[in-house]
Structures are given as C-alpha cells and as structure tokens.
C-alpha cells in the first residue's frame, strides 16, 4: 500500500507546531498503525531527520499509552480499538491519513504526538481508591458479591486511562474517565464507605485541572477503546448529587 501522512510536528511545549507531509510506500496491510510509524521513523532517522515522538508501550491495547488522533477520531476509525491495535488493513491504498495528538487544555503537548496526561493521575489521587491498608483485609470470600455486580464493576474498571474520551469530547470533558472509576468502586461493597467523598473530590479535581463540562453527547463512549458505557456517567451524576445533598465534605 502507498500511504500519505500528515503528521503534527511540534518541537516542545513552547514552540508552535505544524502539520508535516510524509509519504510511505510498501506498507503491508498486516502492519499495525504504530509499526507503520516505526517504518516512518526508521526512514527519517536514515535521512538524518528527527523521528516522530509518540507514546506507546504494551502494543496490546491495555496500557493506555498510545494516543493518536487519526483522521479526526481518537485511536482511528475502528471502534473498541486502541491505536496500537489498529491495523493498516483498515485503510486503503493511496489514502491520506491525518495524525494529531490529543487536543485538550488539560493535556498540553510535550512533543509531536506526545501529551501530558498527569491530570488523570491527580484525579485518581483525589479519591479513586478504597482506603484499606495492606494486611487489614478480611478473607476474600467474606463479603459475597453477586456476579452481575462484579461484572458491572469490571465493565467500568476496564478503563485504560488513555484519554480518548477527552480527545473525543467537544468540551474536552473527562467525565467518562472519572465516571468509570467512581462507578467501579460505587457498585462494590468495598467502595461504599467513601463513595460520596470520592465522587465529590474526583469531580472537584477534574474541574480544577481545566477539563470541560459534560453535555452528555456521548462521543466519549463511542470512541472509548474499551466501550465504557454512558450509564456510568449517569451513576456519577447520581453519586455526586447525592453527595452534595447529604454530605458535609468540602
């Protein structure tokens, strides 16, 4: 396959970036999208040009590192797929592919296609956990959890923290990310003690990071590589409202 690429190049966070054109021939349809970038980068290195920086690690769709905005869609055209799991067979010979980094105020560009997603870590630090010290847990089967509940928690807990939801949202809202964590812990008995505080604190941190408001459009869920459902946002709203009405937490 012959592929034309338009790739966002930006030296660092202080320098303005621009789209740069590249051409690749002999692209195999069995290549993953990132392997196609590997080939491009080897070409660039041999020409004495600087390779394109992009985040990637596991290349199995689970670490959440990869973050390319491809032809106007986070992780490209295939649903339920991360960039690293996208293969060139999803494109046609002669295609022009536009590749940008995630665009959001809370995700500043570090270089080329690499963005800073530390805001997500800070949101989790605000309350995305059960406060249990090591060694103080009861026997694992002491609290029975219905299979449906465990499944529901797992559906939410699958979030890989890639940030595609933010990139997909016209408001750059992080609601689906926050909702996935709040919902995962809210449905489990272990998460009950802190459920209100958690919702309040995580939402407050999300706002402080500069993510936009949620208008329930649903692009986040459609683009989510783990297909996390909008139902979790509904649950977050319920948790948050309940917390605001009844708790004394700031």
């Amino acid at each position: 396959m012959n592929i034309a690429l338009k790739v966002w190049r930006q030296k660092n966070s202080q320098t303005p970036g621009k789209m740069v054109d590249y051409k690749l021939s002999d692209v195999s349809p069995d290549m993953s999208f990132l392997e196609m970038f590997d080939v491009l980068n080897e070409d660039l290195s041999h020409k004495g040009e600087e390779p394109v920086a992009f985040d990637h690690d596991c290349r199995e769709g689970i670490c959440g590192s990869c973050s390319m905005y491809i032809n106007g869609r986070p992780h490209g055209p295939q649903t339920g797929t991360t960039t690293c799991q996208l293969h060139m067979r999803s494109f046609n010979d002669g295609d022009t592919i536009v590749v940008e980094p995630w665009r959001a105020r809370a995700f500043p560009v570090i270089k080329d296609l690499v963005v800073d997603r530390d805001a997500f870590d800070r949101i989790v630090q605000a309350g995305g956990y059960v406060s249990v010290n090591t060694g103080s847990a009861p026997d694992a089967n002491e609290i029975l959890i219905p299979r449906e509940t465990a499944d529901e928690a797992m559906d939410a807990a699958q979030c890989i923290g890639c940030g595609a939801c933010v990139a997909a949202c016209k408001n750059a809202s992080a609601m689906l990310f926050v909702a996935a964590k709040v919902s995962h812990l809210a449905v489990l008995p272990q998460g009950q003690a802190e459920h209100q505080m958690r919702a309040e604190r995580m939402v407050a941190q999300m706002d402080a990071e500069g993510f936009g408001a949620c208008s329930f459009t649903g692009a986040c869920s459609v683009e989510c590589p783990k297909s996390i459902s909008l139902d979790h946002i509904a649950r977050l709203n319920r948790e948050y409202l309940g917390a605001k009405l009844t708790s004394n937490n700031a």
């Binding site: 392997e35 920086a53 630090q125 090591t134 009861p138």
Partner: protein
C-alpha cells in the same frame, strides 16, 4: 565504591539467609526475628522504588502506609502503565476455595517442581503462604475478580496445575491488580508519603561505603540528569525478555536499571533462564515490533495440533487446503499424544518445545512454517459458543483484530514467544542483593521460579514481594543502619556517577554512524532467538558469543542517533537500553554455556533423553549461578549458591 571492589577481590560469599526450622515455620520465625523500626522513626527514612508495576507499586504503597517516605520512579507517563498491566490469565493463591485438594504445601510443591528444582524451598514456601493474603488485599481494594452466581470468587485451572487455584478478572487480571496497587499508591501520593517521578529513567546506582545510597536518573522530557539519595533502593524493574527484540514485553521494558546495578557490583543470577510462552500470535513480517500473547487459559479448552504429515502441512502453508479440510485421522494432537495425563495443560516450557519440534519436522501451518493450531471446535461443540465466548470473548476479539481471522470458525494459529525471565538480580531471603541497601523485587529478581515459571505465578510473586515481604525485611536493614546513615546528593559519589552517565550519553550521540538502535536491537534479537532461545547447544552458543561481541563493537562505532540529549528523545532512550541488552546477551550466553544440563526453560540439546525430554543434572548443577561483573571486556566471575532441599525429593519432572 573502592571498598566494595576490595571486598570483591577477597571473594563473595553468597548467603541465602534462609531461616532455620521446619519449612512451614521459617517465615513466621523470621518475621519475629527481624528488627523493627519504631513507628515514630519510620518518617526519618527515605526509600527509592524504581518501577511501578505490581512489585513496585505494591511496595511503594505498603512502605508509605507504614510511614516511610517513598520516591517512586517510572519511565512511563503514569505508574498505571507498567507492563504488569498486560498480564491476562490470572493470579494463583492457595485458598482451596474449590475444595479440590489445594493447600499451601501443594502450591509450594507445584512451584518448586514446575521450576525444575532450581528455586529455593524457603522462598517458594513463603510465596505460597502469603498468596492467600494477596487475594484478600486485592478484593478489599475493589479488584473485580470473576465471581460465581452465589457471589463467591471463581477459580480456574491454569497450565501445569491440577487444581483450580487461579483467580482472574476476565482476560485482564494484570490490569485489575495493577490498578488496585496503583490506587493504593495514589492514595499515598495524596497523603504526601509518596513522591512520583513519571517519565524518569534510572541510569545508575550510587554506592558509597559499600551501601546503596541512591540513583542517577534522566528526566525523559527535559533530558536533565539528576541525583536522588535514600536509605535504600528497591529495583522493581521487571524482566529482560526484550533482549530477544521480539517478545511479549512492552516496547519500553528493559534491563537498564538492573544491568547498571550489576555493573556496580550486584550479582546477576541465572540469566539464561528465560521463559518461552507457547501461545502467542506468530510472527508475520520483518516490520514486526512485538508479539502478542494469547492467554494460556485458552489451553484449558483449546486443543493443540498439526497435520500428521509434512505433505499435508505443505498444502496448508501454500493455502491449498484449510484446517477444517484436514480429516480427524490426519491430525496429530501432539501434546495429548505425548502427555496423556496433562495433555494440553503441560507446563509452558514443555508445550513450547514440542511446538518447535513439530514445526522443525516441517509440520508447521503458517506460511513461515512456524505455527501450530489451537482449536476450539470441540469445546464449542461440547459447551456451546456462548460458554466459550463468555470465557474467552475478549481474547478471541483481540486475535481477530490482529490476525483478521475468526477463531470461532477457524483454529487459531499460535507459536511460542519470549515472555518472562526467571533470572534476575541475585537476592537473599530478605530480597536484598549482595549490595547492602539494594533490593530487587518481582521479575527483576531471580528467586522464586527456578528454571521455569508456572502460569499465574508472576502476578503472585510481584505482589507477594511488594505487599507482604519487603515491608518486613526492609525494616530490619533500616533499623540496623539508623536514619543518619545517608549521604547527600552533593556527595562526590553522586557527582561522579552523574558525570559517568552524562559521558555515556554524550558518547552515543557523538558516534554519528549509519545504523539505528532499532537495527542493532533487531540483530541482537535474531542472535539470541537463534542460539539462546528454545533449544541451545554449545556450538551455537559459542558462535553467538562471538557475534554479540562483534555487534557490541559495531554499536559503539556505528550507532546512528538523531536529536539531542536535552529534550524528549525516544531514540536515545532506546539506544541506551539496547547497549545494555547487548552486554546482557553475552552474559546469558555464558550462563547457558556454563549450565551443562537441561532444566526448565533452559534446554541444551546435548543433554536430553532419547525421546527429546530435558535431562537435568542434579549432581553438578543444583545451584544458582550468580555472575559478578569484572569490568569492560573482562569475563564475568561465576559464584555458586548451592540449593539445599530439605523437604522435597528431586525427581525427574514428568507430565506423561
């Protein structure tokens, strides 16, 4: 630094520090005998944790909960992305919830036997003991393990085991366990007890007065070289499978932290013990950047086979016929045939080697000749598509995404790939290396899996080390040195190490040769896979050693690297890691050459039975091979730790 070298000259004594007493009481006794740090004094100690996978994140969280001040480092942009996240199948624990005969002793025994009697009894028994606490802890954190309809935890059996003791969260167990540890870590960041350093890579260990004092890091965004001092350093940096270039490891997984510690005096144990996982998606083309594992749990229901004859296989490879056109009597279910009692569930090394054998016979089924079938047709017929989908749906989906083939309709094609490394930094029972104050946890150490790791045991070991071992053993060391025993980052030892790191980087950037780090890495991988992979022999290993030495020389004279060091430069990161992989590769070959026996993942063709099974040599090789770095271009020195078996009787592993 100097007095360490002197100590080396006089020879190193490897003390495993396995406590006295009956096996089942060793850990309890040891815990009682360990010194404690007064709760009010814990805040006076600083601990560096490098790596934030299961071992690192759990250690950092558990130590911070106790009151120590922790600095946690990872090269990824977030601690949640460490490669533990990709583990699929599950985590073992001797809960015996299934009433099927499991016990701590059985898990211990299976692990010792599975490791082909090349692990320490004491360590492995402790691992089995704390396995039950791990599950409790994870459930309390909100890890959504699979459950039965009644609400109790579900279990499944896993390769190499005849009881159901594996806990799992769909095909994403590693992810859920890591997110649990990451959440505990995040809580301690919020509490101010852990300071996180993401996108920061350890490039050297600082030793002064014979003790580990801190590390030198590179900020991967600014390129700045920095010093961090502490009372102890924990390396939780994972395995070195990427020495093979193609492996199931993440692209960034590397040996650099462990290797640089090795070059500062830490012994590297059993480097040739690498695990080749039988069920991976086969290699497609030369652009291939990594290999993807298909969980071993698939072997519970999938049947492994190839055509009986070369001729039929040839037709498959040419695309003239498909798997379903091959009649039942023309199929060879080779694992079931050779190992009737374990069948498709034989341990990983046995399954991998057999796949290689049938492919070497010309019966492989991919165009490359390197693949066997993993067939679910019978399971679907027996249980229905729905049941199979519930068990493996996400794995089948992943397979289809990569291969563009539907495993419900046509059998999967699989081939072994490098997956895990049992070798690693030598540690004693306290997880301390031979350098006081330097610890290694999880896959980064060598201690619990012997020559072969059983499925679902890596997650168990990472979390055991981090949650339930290091919080006890580290206190003993810290109590013995006292909080004043620390040096500032302004100390000459730090400045010298910083300068050395900077010099190496400058040197790499100044070569301006023709070959990229990627090309060197791929070339190294070919050598390792060909000569130090699933089957090894003295002739090949000797050849490989020479090839690796040549490659190293070429690397340092012909490396092509663009960009500068004072910016985000992934090519520079890669080059620095590949340089270390090349050196490690040579040591692996030395170790494989030294070990004139076949055991676990280490299969020497000269040492096999007539029907091709591994032949161990207990008389001469029941030891841990711990290698000491002696300087550039010097052969490493071998130290032996004799393995003592007080409880189990060494037998030839048989899965027939």
């Amino acid at each position: 630094m100097l007095d360490v070298l002197e100590e080396k000259e006089t020879g190193i004594k490897l003390e495993s520090k396995i406590p006295e007493g009956p096996l089942a009481e060793k850990w309890a006794r040891h815990k009682f005998n360990l010194k404690l740090v007064n709760p009010a004094n814990k805040r006076k100690f600083e601990v560096i944790v490098v790596g934030t996978g299961l071992a690192g994140a759990s250690a950092a969280a558990a130590l911070a909960e106790l009151g120590y001040n922790v600095k946690a480092f990872c090269f990824q942009d977030s601690p949640r992305r460490a490669h533990s996240i990709a583990a699929q199948g599950g985590i073992n624990a001797a809960k015996n919830y299934q009433n099927d005969g499991d016990s701590i002793f059985r898990l211990f025994y299976d692990t010792i036997k599975g490791g082909d009697y090349r692990a320490r009894e004491g360590n492995v028994h402790r691992l089995a003991e704390v396995s039950v606490n791990i599950i409790d802890q994870c459930v309390a954190q909100g890890v959504p393990f699979a459950r039965e309809y009644g609400g109790a935890l579900a279990n499944r059996s896993f390769g190499g085991s005849q009881v159901s003791r594996t806990f799992y969260a769909r095909g994403q167990t590693g992810q859920q366990l890591l997110l649990g540890a990451y959440s505990a870590l995040s809580r301690q960041v919020a509490n101010g007890k852990v300071k996180l350093f993401p996108r920061t890579e350890m490039l050297d260990l600082v030793i002064e007065g014979g003790k580990a004092r801190g590390i030198i890091t590179r900020n991967l965004i600014t390129g700045k070289i920095e010093s961090h001092s502490a009372h102890a350093v924990l390396l939780c940096t994972g395995g070195y499978g990427n020495v093979f270039y193609l492996s199931t490891n993440a692209m960034g997984s590397n040996v650099t932290a462990a290797w640089r510690a090795h070059k500062k005096g830490a012994l590297f144990a059993n480097p040739c013990f690498t695990q080749i996982h039988p069920t991976c998606i086969p290699v497609k083309g030369n652009y291939q950047s990594k290999l993807t594992l298909m969980s071993e749990s698939l072997r519970n229901d999938g049947r492994v086979w190839v055509p009986k004859t070369k001729e039929i296989a040839e037709k498959v490879r040419k695309g003239e016929i498909k798997a379903k056109d091959i009649k039942e009597e023309d199929r060879d279910y080779f694992l079931e045939r050779r190992y009737p009692s374990f069948g498709n569930l034989v341990p990983r090394d046995v399954a991998s080697r057999n796949a290689k054998t049938v492919c070497d016979e010309g019966r492989g089924v991919a165009p490359t000749g390197l693949a066997v079938y993993l067939d679910f047709a019978d399971a679907i017929k027996r249980d229905g598509k729905k049941v199979i989908e519930a068990k493996y749906g996400n794995l089948f989906e992943m397979y289809e995404k990569i291969v563009d083939d539907d495993p419900y309709e046509t059998p999967m094609k699989i081939y072994p790939a490098v997956h895990y490394t049992m070798g690693g930094l030598w540690v004693d029972y306290n997880l301390m290396t031979n350098i006081p104050g330097l610890y290694a946890l999880g896959e980064a150490n060598f201690s619990d899996h012997g020559a072969n790791r059983l499925g679902a045991s890596a997650l168990m070991q990472g979390l055991a080390d981090g949650y339930f071992v290091i919080p006890y053993t580290l206190g003993d060391y810290l109590a013995s040195i006292g909080s004043a025993d620390k040096i500032a980052t302004t100390h000459a030892a730090f400045k010298e190490a910083e300068q050395n790191v900077q010099n190496t980087i400058t040197r790499m950037l100044s070569i301006k040769g023709e070959k990229t780090a990627e090309e060197f890495h791929r070339q190294l991988g070919h050598i390792m896979w060909e000569y130090c992979g699933m089957a090894r022999n003295a002739e090949g290993l000797t050849k490989a050693k020479k090839m690796i030495q040549d490659l190293r020389r070429e690397f340092w004279s012909n490396l092509r690297l663009s960009g500068s060091d004072l910016e985000l430069n992934p090519a520079l990161e890669q080059a620095s890691r590949v340089a270390d992989f090349i050196e490690l590769g040579e040591l692996m070959v030395d170790d494989a050459l030294n070990r004139n026996e076949s055991c676990g993942g280490h299969f020497r063709e000269e040492y096999s039975t007539e029907d091709g099974e591994a032949k161990r040599d207990d008389e001469n090789y029941t030891y841990v091979a711990a290698w000491q770095y002696k300087g550039p271009n010097q052969p490493e020195e071998l130290h032996k730790e004799k393995l003592v078996f007080e409880t189990v009787k060494l037998t030839q592993r048989s899965y027939k």
